[in-house]
Amino acid sequence: MPDEDAAAPPPPIDPRLLEVLVCPLTKTTLIYDRAAGELISRAAGLAYPIRDGIPIMLADEARRLETP
């Protein structure tokens, strides 16, 4: 596999996948931030990263959201 162009936008997550994906902790729906490459769980206060097209749905790997 050739190296991907760092400036290229990440491939989008399939909308059908987004319909069935929930937060592993709260089982609530997720917000897809395509630009940041994250799946955000407001209920858990966590942002799950998407690395090289693979969402990492583990709380240990998630970024904690700043409280508003």
Binding site: D52, I54, P55, M57
Partner: protein
């Protein structure tokens, strides 16, 4: 998760009592697969081919298009799904998933909808998201097989199917004696010769499940559990 040597404390437990699921557990499992990913296909991949082939054929024969493969590993089974199946694969090992992603790209497998890093015992899918969930050589390497079963039952719709292919302990006969004799060595290799049907399936499920030994040696068993 796929089949590989797992060190304590991730040994499968036949105890149905809940155990804490700690970050250390996930870390140790991922470390094991990091070491194992590059040689996995050449070692266990060959042995397990018959099992994966039978499991994918069983998935293809079932109605419904939405398929979840739990413990997709390096994606050895992915090319075997029918083009009309829309497959989502999950695994706990990023190294294994990276190999699966490369396989999907190189083979042009457009029916593989997504690959995600998840804990098979606590997935990120809404209830009833799939028509079929299949776990190949996974049930004997998760900490709590019954919790794996519960999670698969949750994410498959009523009327759907759960499939397992695994090595289960022989219940009698020559294979029972051979497996007993090999038990100490095989544990080191990640082989769990004493993994029994009852560790995965409660009596009610065991009564409903269809079990089929897979040729050529009947070493592995395919289980079909209607939800």
């Amino acid at each position: 998760m796929t089949y590989a040597p797992i060190t304590s404390p991730r040994a499968p437990s036949e105890d149905a009592a809940p155990l804490p699921h700690t970050a250390l557990d996930a870390a140790s499992v991922r470390a094991a697969y990091r070491r194992w990913a590059s040689i996995y296909d050449a070692s266990f991949g060959g042995v397990s081919l018959w099992g994966r082939r039978a499991a994918a054929a069983a998935v293809n024969a079932l109605p419904g298009r939405r398929v979840l493969e739990v413990g997709v590993g390096t994606g050895l089974a992915l090319p075997r799904y029918a083009p009309d199946k829309r497959v989502v694969g999950i695994d706990l090992s990023p190294e294994m998933l990276a190999l699966a992603r490369d396989r999907v790209a190189e083979d042009g497998l457009v029916n593989i909808e997504a690959l995600l890093e998840m804990d098979a015992e606590a997935t990120s899918f809404a209830d009833g998201s799939f028509d079929v969930a299949v776990a190949m050589f996974v049930a004997s390497v998760v900490p709590q097989p019954r919790r794996l079963l519960s999670e698969m039952q949750r994410v498959v719709r009523p009327g759907g199917h759960i499939l397992f292919v695994n090595h289960f302990a022989a219940e009698r006969g020559p294979r029972w004696w051979i497996e007993r004799a090999l038990a100490p060595a095989s544990r080191k290799l990640g082989w769990h010769p004493d993994f029994r049907f009852e560790a995965l399936l409660p009596p009610e499920a065991l009564a409903r499940a269809q079990r089929r030994a897979i040729p050529p040696f009947g070493l592995f068993t395919l289980i079909d559990l209607p939800v």
